[in-house]
């Protein structure tokens, strides 16, 4: 993908860096980055990523611009109040750099839609503002093998790291359990100094650009803690957890492997929670829950429990003539399980889209969410 005369001029300061040059700039043009959240972190991240000449920039956000956003969310300006953040973001990014393709996703990322969106990008920048979305991003990035450029902010303090389950720890190696949202204050409740997400989001942009350029040492296995009050930077080492529920099995695979990628036509054989409810009542479907035993204790539906790691040794316990639905928390682990069972000759296997979380939300609210 060669650069036009205009692009050569636009990126001149990049081209004179030996580690970038024309080849590096062309690599950026061939790359794609998805920025989740067009807020405090997503603003500087998306703006620098677009300015740098990344070929395709995706933006995910379901909110509209509010006056209280403008103290830090510099993608948006006062006249944008009331507009969809994705529309405002597109206009700003196109003004900064009309050469880049901007793709907007005006929606909230969920276990059901995450993989189909993330799979079209090379790198994912996590500028979300809540734990459920961060866990959804982590699960999708681990299952697709994409780098997850993580950042978060609270008052004067920020955290940045690069989670890449193929080269180091993932977000769930750091936080195995999803904290309840009411425990941890978001920016609205906790407050945040406006320039802090500017710093953290810019570091995320730098890491995303470096991943695309394949230059330097990234923040893989390192958590950078920023205390803006005292302007102190501290680095903590984080190692991969072999028992991690997000990425552990990729490191410690049994001889017979569960595939780590799921092909597109396999994702089409999902079943919705609504369909499962109507079919399950007749008893003609066998639900195989592939989560961990402690998750099963928190929330379950009528099913047999075979944790994903045990599936290669235990799949023969299952009746091949029965119609099987695999289930997990959000539908990622169970997609691997369904693909594995098909590879072992099971003809009728479908994956429950959105997992037990979707069941709790849409079918039976007495099943606890976690």
């Amino acid at each position: 993908m060669s650069l036009s005369a205009k692009e050569l001029q636009r990126y001149e300061r990049h081209l004179s860096i030996p580690d970038v040059g024309v080849a590096g700039q062309e690599r950026l043009k061939q790359s794609s980055v998805l920025v989740v959240g067009a807020g405090g972190l997503g603003s500087p991240a998306a703006m620098y990523i677009a300015a740098a000449g990344i070929g395709r920039v995706g933006i995910v956000d379901a909110d509209v611009v509010q006056l209280s956003n403008l103290q830090r969310q510099i993608l948006h300006a006062t006249p944008d109040i009331g507009k969809a953040k994705t529309d405002s973001a597109r206009a700003t990014l196109k003004t900064i750099n009309p050469e880049v393709g901007v793709e907007t996703h005006n929606l909230r990322l969920t276990g059901e839609n995450a993989r189909s969106i993330l799979e079209h990008y090379d790198v994912v920048v996590d500028g979300s503002d809540n734990f459920p979305t961060r866990f959804v991003i982590s699960e999708a990035c681990s299952s697709l093998g994409k780098p997850h450029i993580y950042g978060s902010v609270f008052r004067f303090e920020g955290q940045v790291s690069v989670f890449d389950s193929q080269r180091g720890p993932c977000y769930r190696c750091l936080h195995p359990e999803q904290p309840p949202d009411e425990l941890v204050p978001d920016c609205a409740v906790g407050g945040v100094i406006g320039v802090l997400p500017g710093m953290v989001g810019s570091i995320q942009a730098a890491e995303a650009i470096k991943v695309c350029l394949k230059v330097g040492k990234g923040l893989i296995g390192r958590m950078l803690l920023i205390d803006m009050r005292d302007m102190a930077f501290r680095e903590l080492e984080l190692t991969k957890n072999p028992q991690c529920r997000g990425c552990g099995m990729q490191q410690n695979r049994p001889v017979q492997q569960v595939p780590s990628t799921v092909s597109e036509d396999e994702t089409t054989s999902d079943i919705s929670v609504e369909e499962l409810k109507s079919r399950h009542e007749n008893g003609d479907i066998l639900v195989v829950d592939v989560r961990q035993p402690h998750e099963y204790k928190i929330a379950k539906i009528d099913s047999v429990l075979i944790p994903l790691q045990q599936l290669p040794e235990r799949f023969q316990e299952l009746d091949k003539t029965k119609e099987i639905v695999t289930l997990c928390h959000h539908g990622f682990r169970s997609a691997h399980a369904a693909a594995f069972l098909r590879s072992q000759g099971f003809q009728r296997v479908r994956n429950l889209a959105g997992g037990i979380d979707a069941w709790s939300l849409r079918i039976d609210q007495t099943v606890p969410r976690y």
Partner: protein
């Protein structure tokens, strides 16, 4: 056991300090620090399952053995964006 305790974000708010030298007999493993924090403020009980502890700049499991002079950091999960 004498250690240097560093608290981040909400943990510092709950304890009322960011840094403290402490000397206690009941500190054997990293997880003991969470018990100490709960004795300062019972709110830490709710947080305990989600807090991460780092010793000498590396994240550790709660059963990590502490040594005299260790620098122990407690880092809560942060979700703001």
């Amino acid at each position: 056991m004498k250690i240097k305790l560093l608290l981040f974000s909400s943990a510092a708010d709950l304890a009322g300090f960011r840094e403290q030298e402490i000397e206690r007999d009941d500190l054997k493993v990293a997880g003991n620090i969470l018990g100490y924090l709960t004795s300062l403020n019972t709110e830490f009980d709710k947080w305990a399952p989600y807090l991460r502890v780092a010793v000498n700049s590396s994240y550790v499991d709660t059963n990590h053995q502490l040594s005299d002079g260790d620098e122990v950091a407690v880092i809560p999960p942060v979700s703001g964006g």
